[in-house]
Amino acid sequence: MRRPLRRVGGAVIVLIVALLLNITWIQVVKSDDYRTDPNNRRTLVAEYSRQRGQITASGGVVLARSDPVDDQYRYQRVYPEGPVYAGLTGYYSMRYGPTGLERTENDVLSGESADLFAGQLSDLITGRDPRGGNVELTIVPAIQQAAYTALTEKGYTGAVVALRPDTGEVLAMVSTPSYDPNPLAGHSDAEQRAAYNALVAPPDPDAPSPLLNRAVANVYPPGSTFKLIVAAAALQRGDTVDTPVTGAPTITLPGTGGATLSNYMGENCAEGDGSQVTLTQALAHSCNTAFAEVAMSLGADAVKEEAGGFGIGDGSTTDEGDGELGLDVVPSRIGQIPDIAALAQTGIGQRDVAVTPLAMAEVVATIANHGERMAPHLIARTTKPDLSVISETEPTSLGQTVPVDVADSVRDMMVQSEKETPGSGGIADLVIASKTGTAEHGSDPKNTAPHCWYVAFAPADNAPIAVAVMVENGGNGDLAATGAKVAGPIGRAVIAAALSGGL
């Protein structure tokens, strides 16, 4: 009995040592992998119980802050401006994870960024909990508020993006309908769930989703606003603002067996019985046939190249330049342009052209900036808890997209275009350069209300603001809606707010 007992004793030691080796493997070797695994909710909870940094707009307006509270998470995330900035801030939800800037800038806000490490060491020594750094945005609250009010007072679904042309700073970025991020950051699981379900599964299944940031995360056909790019390409080819183009109400698309392309309402663009108009008039009256023909004469490669310069790729390469925005941007694309008919339709911003409102704002900002395209960015600077600067965003040039004289010619044409654009909201003694767009979309385009565009900058010389407005489905489903009627007033209201605010 003695020898077997000793052997069993040895076996027991082997069993326990096997367990010890295994837990050492788990808790020492694999520890970091397990700690940082995305499915491990514990790290999130630890992050939650930390004083997260603030998100502020320019002028120190607080968009997101963490207030001390008396529960296990110790800090409650608060969004004082709620829905006006929800598309930017996103929400910081325990159950659904962070979105928007809360997600993209999480390293700084949570204090995990290496730049904050020095401060953290002293926190460690002094026994304070690590605090997150702050993110300061380029957004100007007055412009943001004006854009949000203009879109929501009519109940529109859409987006507004305003840029400062010479720096690429995003002055306003609004997407409607919006939502209140506060309940999603609640500490009660039930509250988060209720808020989230109300957003993702509303009573009306066809209601537009409030969680979609339409300014950067969705693409739309740009319609006539795309004619700015075709016009720039024509000017670069050597055309002038007075080059004659067709004014015919209808043209037949080659190689389609007789398919036609018409002007808006089948109108003749030319005065009286004329058959030709200048390029300026064609843009001002938004003649489809003219730009279809210009595009066809330019050729697919030239149109693609021009669009690529403005940041609208053909989908073959990933779009660059928006990487520094601070939010994830869906790439805008011009499409493959397989045949001549597709080229004609592309020339008027239909077919496969699909752009974000941000991309359209970049196009007009580039024209306003005399052809130099600046990288749009949302984040002005990030700071440590003691407000010392971690990093500051410098204006970055993405190159001279078009020569100065071409950009200025397009600007002059846009000034004419604004004069021809009906709609309210004009400001006395202010010269606005603009272009409208009314884009068909959907499987039954003739019976679907069009997306309405208005892109503009003002004052025309050295504009401090360029804006793109996009309103989905004519605002309220009106089949006769146009960019001028629906989006124009919103764009002018945003410009007015910006200029009266001393921008």
Partner: protein
């Protein structure tokens, strides 16, 4: 002027030093265990930002008082028992209580977050079970004054154990099924018991008695094949029958953990009794065959094995529990998050099967190692008792009980740490659960009883110098003729059979 020096031991003869019983050490260790447990409780309260009050000291004091009562009764009924057994169990049980309390707090918070009523407190129930377990422990010590008595009840115990074990199988599911395992006897509104925990002990006692009686036959008889002496199956008849019945009932009730535990323990006991490796090989072959068969037959076995092999394939579904267990321990790291500062409640069933994962998260590698070493010491003291005790039955019983504890710890801790596939078992003395606690305290009581017998000093006959008139004549060896000693000298501690 110096004081008068007392004269020491000048007249009194030196007394025969009694062998220390270890009772003082036991009391000291019990106090130490109670202090550790109270400290753990205070840390939980601090980390959960609750107010520290004198109630905590009274909990710790109450725990110590209950243990002191047990200690005093051991002094009275098992004065020579191994002094490490009760303190080790007291520490494990106390840490288990603290962790269960900590999980209760977490459950209250999450219920409040969901806007529900707080769930029933497991802590208060576990405290009741601990009290009952201590009472049962003492009853066993008081009733069984001599463990050898158990031999005469071997067959009765085996039969009763099997019947008890089989009750859930014949009860309707709503009185016997919890989470897919039909191994309970539920008395609605009162309590549930797991007969397997008690049947296990009865079968170990039966096996010890049976094997002791059959030892000689088992060790000798049999044919030789490939150098292995094959035992005769019919010699093992009753034991095999009991084991087959028990395993059949357990497999039918989906209780894989206890099946594994019982089989392994019985096999080890046969090896202990016979010293024959051939039994082990036969048993292991049988185990491999049974495991393969179970894998083919039962989908839940396949699921368990697949989760074990690929837990991260479905980390939020079937693999959730194991993955979260690993995450918890990984997050705890070397030193743990601190008691009450982690999130052990994320792992489902953290208070029962996965309590070691919860402890690993909050106490870290260091704490979990300490806990496993506590088990190692407890088991090795049990095996030491088996070595020391003079009767074969006691030795086999102590060895079987000690090994069953070790195997149970290995199977469940190995399961929650992904060393082996997970099978449902409680962690002895730590997990929440009345049946498990009561049964393990019975095991403790039996070990204490056997170790008392093992360490009891032999009563040496007092030598009285006989008057010279009655002195016996003595043989005087003839000079020049060396006499060989009649017996070979046996070294102490059985060196002869090393």
């Amino acid at each position: 002027m110096t004081g008068v020096q007392p004269r020491v031991g000048a007249t009194t003869p030196p007394a025969d030093e009694p062998r220390p019983t270890g009772r003082a050490a036991e009391l000291g260790l019990l106090v130490f265990a109670a202090v550790l447990v109270t400290g753990a409780l205070i840390i939980v309260e601090l980390n959960q930002s609750r107010t520290i009050s004198w109630d905590l000291a009274s909990y710790g004091g109450g725990y110590l008082a209950a243990l002191a009562v047990a200690h005093l009764l051991i002094r009275r009924f098992a004065p020579y028992a191994d002094p490490l057994l009760l303190p080790l169990v007291a520490l494990l049980n106390g840490l288990g209580l603290v962790m269960i309390y900590r999980l209760d707090l977490a459950a209250q918070v999450s219920a409040a977050n969901r806007g529900e009523d707080p769930p029933t407190s497991q802590t208060s129930l576990q405290l009741v079970w601990t009290g009952l377990a201590l009472v049962l422990f003492l009853l066993v010590l008081v009733i069984i004054r001599d463990h050898t008595v158990l031999q005469s009840y071997a067959y009765t115990l085996a039969f009763a154990g099997l019947v008890f074990l089989a009750i859930p199988a014949v009860l309707p599911a709503r009185y016997s099924q919890v989470n897919g395992a039909q191994i309970w006897i539920k008395v609605p509104g009162l309590f549930s018991i797991q007969p397997a925990e008690f049947a296990k002990i009865a079968l170990i006692v039966f096996a010890a008695a049976f094997l002791t009686a059959k030892r000689t036959v088992l060790s000798t008889a049999g044919k030789k094949v490939f150098g292995l002496v094959l035992p005769r199956l019919r010699d093992l008849g009753p034991l095999v029958v009991a084991l087959v019945v028990a395993l059949a009932v357990l497999v039918r009730g989906n209780d894989l953990g206890t099946t594994l535990l019982l089989f392994g323990t019985m096999l080890t006991m046969i090896y202990l009794a016979t010293g024959r490796v051939s039994w082990l090989i036969i048993g292991l072959l049988g185990f491999v065959g049974g495991a393969l068969l179970a894998y083919q037959l039962f989908s839940h076995v396949r699921v368990r094995v697949n989760i074990w092999l690929h837990p991260f394939d479905d980390p939020l579904g079937s693999g959730y529990q194991l993955v979260q267990s690993l995450f918890g321990m990984g997050t705890g790291g070397i030193f743990g998050t601190g008691l009450g500062a982690g999130r052990p409640d994320i792992v489902p069933y953290a208070s029962t099967d996965f309590i070691t994962a919860a402890l690993g998260e909050e106490l870290g590698l260091v704490g979990l190692t300490a806990i496993l070493l506590c088990y190692l010491i407890l088991v090795s003291r049990g095996l030491r008792t088996a070595l020391l005790v003079k009767d074969g039955f006691g030795s086999l019983l102590a060895g079987g009980l000690a090994f069953s504890l070790a195997l149970q710890v290995f199977v469940i801790v190995g399961g929650v740490t992904r060393l082996i596939p997970l099978t449902g078992l409680t962690t002895p003395f730590l997990s929440y659960g009345g049946s498990s606690l009561l049964a393990n305290y019975v095991i403790l009581a039996l070990l204490v009883r056997i170790s008392d017998s093992a360490r009891r000093p032999e009563i040496r006959p007092v030598r009285v110098a006989a008057p010279i008139t009655e002195a016996a004549t003595e043989m005087v060896p003839v000079v020049g003729r060396a006499s060989a000693p009649a017996t070979s000298p046996r070294g102490r501690d059985g060196e002869a059979d090393r």
